[in-house]
């Protein structure tokens, strides 16, 4: 009788766990920013899955611990010993193999999603650059491309980061400090930095890439939702790091083209830059710092 009751209790416990973790997994979507890209939906599916599995494990173990804490306490001063059981080989094998299976499961899911997002291409990329003796010394400073598997894209935009500003170069050599992207088109961003490490990060797009000076890193994404977003530098880049942001507009093809044409007709002029103005206008506070680079000169500031 006792045994049946225990089994029943365990079954109820597991059922409650399953229902709860499924529910929490669904909730996980709402903890994320809006989904701005095709990639974001996939990342959120993965996140929801991870949260559900995590909740199951967390509540399961905490439940067992709390059960013991609530039921097996003894009065102060009672130092009699519990059960002398030192282990159970079968159980220990089970709880080694089960996590292995969980890990396999989670890794496989993550691998699948990564392949679908396919930021840099999963094939091993070997880019050998052996400087020849007769090559000029600055040959190595030519951008290297990590992505050899070219994806068909509608648009390529050059992203240029420096301390502490963003600038974007569109086809036709049109430049701006705003990132405009046509909706529903796959875009390739070519990331470059002039000075230190920076990082390209728009939370609504979900994906992130460090920018490494003297290298061009390719990065493809497909915006799915019209709107205004904020691009952030995600790799610490020095004093004015928090100010290194830019506006991102995802808009209809027409609006994008209109904007591009309008920009093309404008004479390049220096853009406004919050790091530069904080440094020059505000009294310089505190310890010496790298002087912000001149604001980028662009068609559309």
């Amino acid at each position: 009788m006792q045994k049946i009751l225990n089994t029943l209790l365990l079954a109820v416990f597991i059922a409650v766990l399953l229902v709860t973790s499924r529910w929490v997994g669904h909730q996980a979507y709402s903890w994320m920013p809006t989904q701005g890209t095709a990639e974001a939906q996939k990342v959120d599916d993965l996140f929801s899955f991870l949260v559900a599995v995590g909740t199951f494990i967390f509540l399961g173990i905490v439940g067992l611990i709390m059960y013991s804490v609530l039921l097996y306490r003894v009065p102060k001063g009672d130092f009699s010993d519990g059960s002398p059981s030192r282990g159970n080989v079968k159980l220990e094998i089970v709880w080694t193999i089960v996590p292995v299976l969980f890990v396999m499961w989670i890794a496989t899911q993550s691998y699948k999603i990564y392949q679908e997002i396919d930021i840099q291409g999963l094939t091993p990329i070997v880019h050998l650059h052996i400087p020849m003796a007769d090559e000029p010394a600055n040959a190595a400073t030519e951008p290297t491309d990590v992505n050899t598997r070219a994806k068909p894209v509608a648009l390529e935009v050059m992203v240029m980061a420096k301390q502490w500003s963003w600038a974007f170069r569109y086809p036709g050599n049109i430049t701006s400090t705003e990132l405009h992207l046509p909706v529903n088109e796959t875009v390739r961003l070519k990331l470059q930095s002039q000075d230190v490490l920076h990082g390209f990060y728009v939370p609504e797009f979900r994906i992130k890439q460090d920018i490494i000076p003297n290298r061009t890193l390719n990065f493809t994404l497909t915006p799915l939702r019209v709107g205004k977003y904020r691009l952030r530098d995600s790799q610490f880049s020095g004093t004015y790091f928090p100010l290194m942001e830019a506006d991102v507009y995802v808009e209809s093809s027409d609006a994008y083209n209109q904007w591009l044409t309008a920009s093309a007709s404008q004479q390049p002029s220096p853009a406004k830059n919050s790091a530069f103005s904080e440094h020059t206008l505000g009294a310089v506070r505190g310890w010496p710092t790298i002087v912000p680079a001149q604001p980028p000169i662009v068609n559309q500031p």
């Binding site: 920013p33 804490v69 059981s85 220990e92 292995v100 890794a107 999603i113 890439q209 995600s234 928090p242």
Partner: protein, 548 residues
């Protein structure tokens, strides 16, 4: 187990010479206390830095600190918490306990032990003195990634970054000395009968952690030296514009600094493995698998460093490989968590302060472990990499797990170390404040990171303010929570009730000697005949000479 009621001999040491704690003592117990007290002072200072940062983050705008100062504070906060608090504090605890636990009279190299300790206070002061330099402190974060770290805006040769590099190198030397000493001590000085599989888990974890130090630390020291050359002499090891590679620095740095997390967390797991059985009155469930899991964690942790670099210029195959190895850490770690859960199961639980800290530490470790596996998943990591989600995750490990474990250990071994009992009520107040403060501070960082708040920012977008206020209030509560601890420890050490030799009725050789232990530890080196954690073996224990 029959000497339970025997009172400690606090009286037999009527005039303890407190000055020995300020001297170049070679007694491992004195050195252990020196380590713990010194590192706790650095903990308070680095904690104060974090409270200043939390105060700045109460509002989205920059209004309390200057940007360089904010950057300096988070750089020194991280550096000090790791290299001047957690690592030395756990080394101190291990220094005190390992010889007692394995039945040795001292560490293998007592003089080296003292030198290793005495490198720490001057280095810490040296690092802090960079506040007085015209350049200010290092401001590139505790990773000190080039090129930012070698930009040196002040133009001075003696700049904060230089001080940072030298401090890290010196602390590394101290750690290597400690590593050599611990490994030798554990391998060579075990009492007769203290086979490897009779060592307490704490000793196992110290051994695996110190082997990791010996294996991985040279990589950091090498990176620091190359960075020093780049900074001071204009070499170009890491300068991307002169054929150098900043990504190479990241590999060298994380090759040590990821295992460093395990150097810190392993002894914490060892502490849990001592306290949980003692307060459950059950033997540690699956002792051998827990012991081997410690080594398993250490070995796997050497092959996971690239998960800090998923968003760097790493190729896809490397991301996938390291994703898998990272998740694999969950297996030996899971074994430990399951073992503790099973140890508690149907035990006879005592919920004194050490047990409260240990149980809360395990639960929060589980949480931090789960978010760790999530972070190992590359597509998810690409979203939250370098956001507050990561900050929240690792504070669940370094504070909510490791610092909780350190507190648990301080209460658990306080009677042994000082010969006096601490005040239980104050201990519980300390626990409640710390537990609430820790979760209030570090939990909101997860949603903040999911929403896209990047770490290391002195000002931020107003949408993140509410959760930042919660985290800041939690941070201030954590600051306050140290007060009952300090009062309790100081007052109890001076005037506490004398402690018996074994107030917890725990197993382990350290509990067979007086509280505090005599200078030579053991009058006669004990002969060990029993496996550890022999709870439930009263009769057996009473019959063996080692357990008296």
């Amino acid at each position: 187990m029959t000497q339970d009621i025997q009172m400690g001999n606090a009286g037999s040491d009527p005039q303890p010479n407190r000055w020995r704690y300020f001297s170049f003592s070679t007694d491992h117990k004195v050195i252990g206390i020196q380590y713990m007290v010194t590192s706790f002072i650095f903990f308070l200072i680095a904690g104060l830095f974090s409270m200043l940062m939390r105060a700045e983050l109460l509002t989205p705008e920059l209004n309390l600190l200057s940007r360089p100062l904010y950057n300096g504070l988070f750089t020194l906060h991280g550096t000090m918490m790791i290299f001047l608090w957690i690592i030395p504090c756990l080394v101190g605890l291990a220094n005190y306990l390992v010889p007692l636990m394995i039945g040795a009279r001292d560490m293998a190299f007592p003089r080296l032990n003292a030198i290793a300790f005495w490198l720490i206070p001057p280095t810490g002061i040296f690092l802090l003195s960079s506040f007085l330099l015209p350049s200010g402190t290092a401001q590139a974060g505790w990773w000190s990634y080039p090129p930012v770290s070698i930009q040196n805006p002040s133009g001075h040769l003696f700049n904060g970054e230089l001080f940072w590099i030298l401090s890290v190198a010196l602390l590394g030397i101290s750690s290597i000395m400690g590593g050599v000493n611990f490994v030798t001590t554990i391998v060579r000085l075990r009492a007769p009968g203290m086979t490897y599989f009779r060592m307490p888990i704490f000793v196992w974890t110290v051994l695996s952690a110190q082997l990791l130090q010996l294996f991985c630390l040279p990589s950091l020291t090498g990176a620091a030296i190359l960075l020093f050359f780049d900074l001071a002499f204009g070499t170009s090891f890491f300068d991307p514009f002169k054929e150098g590679s900043p990504v190479l620095y990241q590999h060298l740095f994380w090759f040590y600094s990821h295992p460093a997390v395990y150097v810190m967390v392993l002894p914490a797991l060892g502490i849990f493995s001592e306290i949980i059985p003692a307060f459950s009155r059950n033997p540690l469930f699956g002792y051998i698998s827990v012991a081997l899991a410690s080594f398993g964690i250490a070995i796997v942790s050497i092959f996971v460093w690239v998960h800090h670099m998923f968003a760097s210029g790493t190729p896809g195959w490397m991301r996938m490989l390291f994703m898998f190895t990272t998740m694999l850490v969950a297996v030996p770690t899971g074994v430990k968590v399951f073992a503790w859960t099973a140890t508690i199961w149907k035990g006879k639980l005592h919920m004194e302060t050490p047990m409260l800290f240990a149980l809360a530490g395990i639960i929060m470790f589980l949480f931090g472990g789960i978010t760790g596996v999530m972070l190992g998943s590359v597509p998810f990591d690409l979203h939250v990499n370098n956001t507050y989600f990561v900050v929240g995750h690792f504070h669940y490990i370094v504070f909510n797990t490791i610092t909780m474990a350190i507190y648990a250990a301080m209460y658990f071994w306080f009677p042994k170390i000082t010969g006096r009992m601490y005040a239980e009520g104050w201990g519980k107040i300390h626990f409640v404040l710390t537990f609430i403060g820790a979760n209030l501070t570090f939990f909101p960082m997860h949603p903040l990171g999911l929403q896209g708040m990047v770490r290391r920012v002195s000002s931020y977008n107003p949408q993140y303010q509410e959760l930042n206020i919660v985290a800041s209030l939690g941070g201030f509560l954590l600051g306050i929570s140290t007060l009952p601890f300090i009062v309790n420890i100081v007052a109890s050490w001076l005037q506490g009730r004398p402690a018996p030799n074994n107030p917890w009725h725990a197993t382990g050789l350290e509990w067979t000697v007086s509280s505090p232990p005599p200078v030579e530890n053991f009058e006669e080196i004990p002969i060990v005949t029993l496996p550890p954690y022999s709870y439930g073996h009263d009769q057996l224990a009473a019959d063996t000479p080692t357990q008296k």
